[in-house]
Each structure stands twice: as C-alpha cells, then as structure tokens.
C-alpha cells in the first residue's frame, strides 16, 4: 500500500470510523510484505526463484506468529463480567495470557494462577459403579463435576489470610462475608503460598477453552490481557507487523525457503540463518525502546527516602 494523505490518516477521508488509520504508519501490512518479497527477493537473478506465492505467504505468516509469541508487545485487552458459573471463555484469538485482573471499585487487582486443579470432567456411574453411556456409545457426563461444584458453591475451603487475626493462614469457608473454620485456633502449617492471596484465583482449562475462577470472583469484572498470533481471525487484510520487524520478516521468509529447498549450499543457508537471527535481535532491541528519557524517569526515584 502506498503512502496515504494526512486527511486520510486523520479523518479516513471523511468515512466512518475516522480513527481507522490512526497509528497505521508504524505498521507494514502482510500484503505489502508478500508483494515486496516477490518483487525484491524472488526472480531470475535472485537466490530464490520459481517459488509459489502461497509458500511466501505461509512463511510470512509463520514469522509473524512467532514474533507475536516471542517478541512483540501487542497485548490485547478484554473485559468480561464473571457470572455465577465462574467461567470466562477464552477470547477467540487467544494464544496465551499476560495478566488477568479483577476490577473492584475502579481498581485492577492482578489475580494469581491457582495451579491446584479445581475443575474436572466427571463420568456418570450406575448403582454398581458401572459407567453410563448414551446411544452413540459416549460416556455420560454431568454438567458440573464435584470439583466444579465445590468451587462454584464455595463448599471447598479457601485460605484465610489476615496477619492481624489468629486465624491467619488457616483454611475456612467464607459464607455471606463471615469466615468459618474447622477448629478454634491453631496454625495451618505448610500454607499454600500460590493461593495465599486475598484476591480471587484462577486456573485455565485449555481443553475446554475456559478460565475457571474461585468463588469470590462471582459478580466481578474480569480484565484479561493476552497475546494473539497476529492472524486477525483469518482476515488477511488486517494482518500487519511493526515496521521495526519488517527486515526480520523478509529474512525469516528467505531462510525458511532456502532451508527447505533441494540443492542449496549449506553456506547460503547458514548466511540466511545468521541474517535472520541478527535481525531479530536488532528488532527486539529497537522495540525495547530504551532511551535516555525513560532511563531518566527511572533514575529520578534514586533519591527517594524509604521509611
């Protein structure tokens, strides 16, 4: 795509939404990348010739995906109210999470992941313990497993943390804002520090595509920050990459093609591999945005008195 006028940039030529092109200058589109590669790196006198465009498209997309997983800081944010089922469906373009927070009175509290399994799939059994099947031969499952019910109904004990209380670090049940414990006073040795947090916790059920929260998340607003693979739900026209990575994408395509071709000398492949690696490091350094202004802001805190 060629350069656009300032009117198109700021006001989208009067079309709606007028914000469509804001910030677009920092990106190069996938279409441009493929076109430029076909024009500049592929031909009768280049290292690569007689290549199909779909191969270039494939390697370009793979390079963009890898960048999104690894180097880019293109974090997407989604907010979602959590209902009584304590579930959040993973966003349609979700690949991995960065941070999950609960919004309480306008403040975001980061939640910690609970690695203890608190969800499961259950099988229905008959009176004699035999499994029950449907007409297609699939085993029957209840809507919720006992683990799920324990979490949803808050029948599973939770860790109570309050340093000023003698019950600090004990497992109990919080019902209608009142905590109940199994015993009067005593230390709960070996507290699970993973979940020793007053905020709700979550665990991710990747197979089911949901995030399960602890019971105290019910009714709160969840804010999930996550990374995608940059494929924009298959909309090729919307796929783009920061210009700082443009050269890296070309190098990655070049290396992938040469590495898979028959009869290419090893020194040429090695050259392409080194090129790709160096450009990735370059781009990461560029994107880290270390400049004096930022360092100065951090250094200003050095004289702060800590009481």
């Amino acid at each position: 795509m060629g350069y656009i006028s300032q009117y198109e940039y700021y006001d989208n030529n009067g079309n709606s939404p007028n914000s469509a092109n804001w910030g677009s200058y920092q990106y190069v589109s996938l279409e441009d990348i493929v076109n430029n590669f076909m024009l500049m790196y592929q031909g009768n006198h280049e290292l690569i010739n007689n290549i199909n465009r779909y191969q270039i498209l494939f390697f370009a997309k793979r390079a963009i995906q890898e960048l999104n997983y690894d180097a880019l800081k293109e974090v997407k944010v989604l907010e979602y109210p959590i209902g009584s089922d304590l579930k959040l469906f993973l966003p349609s373009d979700y690949v991995n999470w960065v941070r999950i927070s609960a919004e309480v009175n306008g403040v975001l509290f980061s939640l910690s992941e609970n690695f203890q399994v608190n969800f499961a799939t259950a099988y229905l059994q008959g009176q004699n313990g035999q499994l029950l099947y449907d007409q297609n031969g699939n085993v029957l499952s209840p809507q919720y497993s006992e683990l799920d019910l324990g979490r949803i109904n808050n029948t599973a004990p939770s860790l109570y943390t309050n340093p000023l209380s003698p019950y600090n670090g004990q497992y109990g049940w919080c019902i209608d804002d009142v905590w109940y414990f199994r015993w009067g006073i005593g230390g709960a040795f070996g507290a699970n520090t993973e979940t020793a947090n007053v905020n709700p916790t979550f665990s991710i059920d990747k197979q089911s595509g949901v995030i399960n929260f602890s019971s105290n998340m019910s009714g709160l607003l969840c804010v999930i920050e996550y990374i995608s693979d940059g494929m924009e739900n298959g909309n090729d026209g919307a796929v783009k990459v920061n210009k700082l990575f443009e050269d890296y994408i070309y190098a990655a395509i070049r290396y992938s093609i040469l590495n898979n071709r028959f009869g290419v000398q090893e020194y040429i492949i090695n050259r392409a591999r080194k090129d790709r690696r160096a450009l990735l490091m370059n781009a990461k350094i560029r994107l880290s945005n270390i400049h004096p202004g930022r360092l100065l802001m951090a250094m200003r805190g050095r004289d702060k008195w800590i009481k």
């Binding site: 279409e31 009768n44 006198h45 199909n52 779909y54 494929m231 090729d236 026209g237």
Partner: protein
C-alpha cells in the same frame, strides 16, 4: 514485410527452376515458419537468462535478453475474461502464455490441480480475496455436430469471485496472409496490401532471414528438392547456434 519475403523465397526457388509456390502454399509455409520462430523466442529468453546468471551476457547493446523481451512484449494483451459458469472463466483462444490473472485488481496465483485441494484446506494460505488463486482446466465448446472445440478455462478461488477477472497474456501471432489482386502481365498474382484479409508477419524485420530459411525448408519438402530444404535447414541451424553461442 511479407511481400519482400515472398519475393526472396520465389527468387531463390526460381533461380534454378525448382518450381513455383502458389500464394496459398506460401501462406501455409509462412504460418508455420512464423509460429516456429515465435516459439523459439521463449527458448532463447530462457537461455539468455541462464547466460546472464553465468555472466556471459552483457548490458547496453549487448543486452540480448532485453531485445528478446521487447519482441515478446509486443504480443502482450489485456482482456477481461467472460464468465463461463460461476467462478469459471473462458480463456481467449489466441492465448499462448498467461502472465497474470487479476481478480478485482488483486493478482491471482496459478495453482496446480493436484495442489488446489490442499491449498483450500490450509488454515494459513487458503485463497482469499486478497490472495486469490486459480486452476487451469480444459473443456469442450460447441455442440456435436459440428465437432466440439477444445478450450482452456480457469476456475477462480475463493469461488465468490464471479466477476472482475482480467487476464494479461501473450497471444499467438496472427496468421500471416499474402493477398493478391489479379494476375499480372507475366501470369504472376500481384500483391495487394489493401485487401481486407491481408495480414503481415508480426515478427521484427531482423527475423526476415530466418523466415526465408524456414519457408524454404517447407517449400523444399513440398517440391521434393533436397537442395532447397538443405539450404533452409543449414541457415536455420546457423541462426540457432549463433543465438546460443
């Protein structure tokens, strides 16, 4: 150009009273000769690229690739394709080589028939409006009788592309036709370049010697004169060698 070539051919053939070539025969030989030379251009182009990569081809006046390219470019055409059915379009009958297929301004990529199903099933590279693809297939046109004609068609992917398809292609040269008006005083037909069906050779003037050689070959076979055939063939081989040395 066609009249000069015919005169040259007749002059060579008649010098030793080998025989006479009728206008109809000449047109047949001219057609074959032009097609043969036209196809050789693509072979030459390929050889010149190899030579260029081997650094045995120069630039400027020595840029033979450019000369060949310019000749081939004179046969380039752009045409909107007519829809045959749904996303299938008919290729013009004079198409020799498809250069680009554009679907609503986006370049479509040719995909082999044995690859298209895999491409359609691909999650990352399935054809889209931005990256369209097409496959070439054959088909029969017309009803029997008269006999059906084999035609080329292309099917666009995604199949939502049902219009706005343009083809940039290299066409076959038109069939040359030496036309004549009436018989002259010595019994020869007189050349008439104003006839409605007159078509000159479409190759550059520099191909005249090659055209004459090739026509002589065909004429030599026709009039059963081995010497005429040999003369044409020797000339032809010399030109071929020169092109590749």
């Amino acid at each position: 150009m066609i009249n000069e070539i015919r005169n040259a051919v007749l002059a060579i053939v008649n010098k030793n009273n080998y025989g006479y070539i009728t206008p109809a025969d000449f047109n047949l030989y001219a057609e074959q000769a032009q097609l043969s030379i036209f196809e050789d251009y693509f072979q030459s182009y390929n050889n010149q690229i190899s030579r260029e990569n081997a650094r045995t081809l120069g630039t400027g006046y020595a840029n033979l690739r450019q000369i060949t390219e310019e000749v081939i470019d004179t046969f380039s055409m752009v045409q909107s394709l007519s829809q045959y059915a749904a996303s299938t379009f008919s290729i013009p009958p004079d198409c020799y080589l498809m250069i680009n297929v554009l679907a609503n301004g986006k370049t479509a990529e040719k995909v082999s028939l044995n690859r298209i199903n895999q491409l359609l099933a691909s999650n990352l590279t399935a054809p889209s409006v931005i990256y369209p693809a097409y496959v070439v297939s054959g088909g029969l046109q017309g009803t029997t009788p008269p006999p059906q004609v084999l035609v080329q068609r292309i099917t666009m992917y995604p199949t939502s592309i049902i219009s706005g398809v343009t083809l940039q292609y290299i066409r076959y040269p038109r069939l040359p036709k030496w036309t004549w008006l009436n018989v002259g005083v010595n019994g020869d037909p007189v050349f008439n370049s104003s006839a409605a069906d007159y078509i000159d050779f479409e190759l550059p003037e520099t191909d005249s010697p090659l055209l004459i050689s090739k026509i002589l070959q065909y004429a030599g076979i026709s009039i059963r004169e081995a010497d005429v055939y040999k003369l044409g063939a020797t000339d032809d081989t010399a030109e071929y060698q020169k092109d590749r040395s």
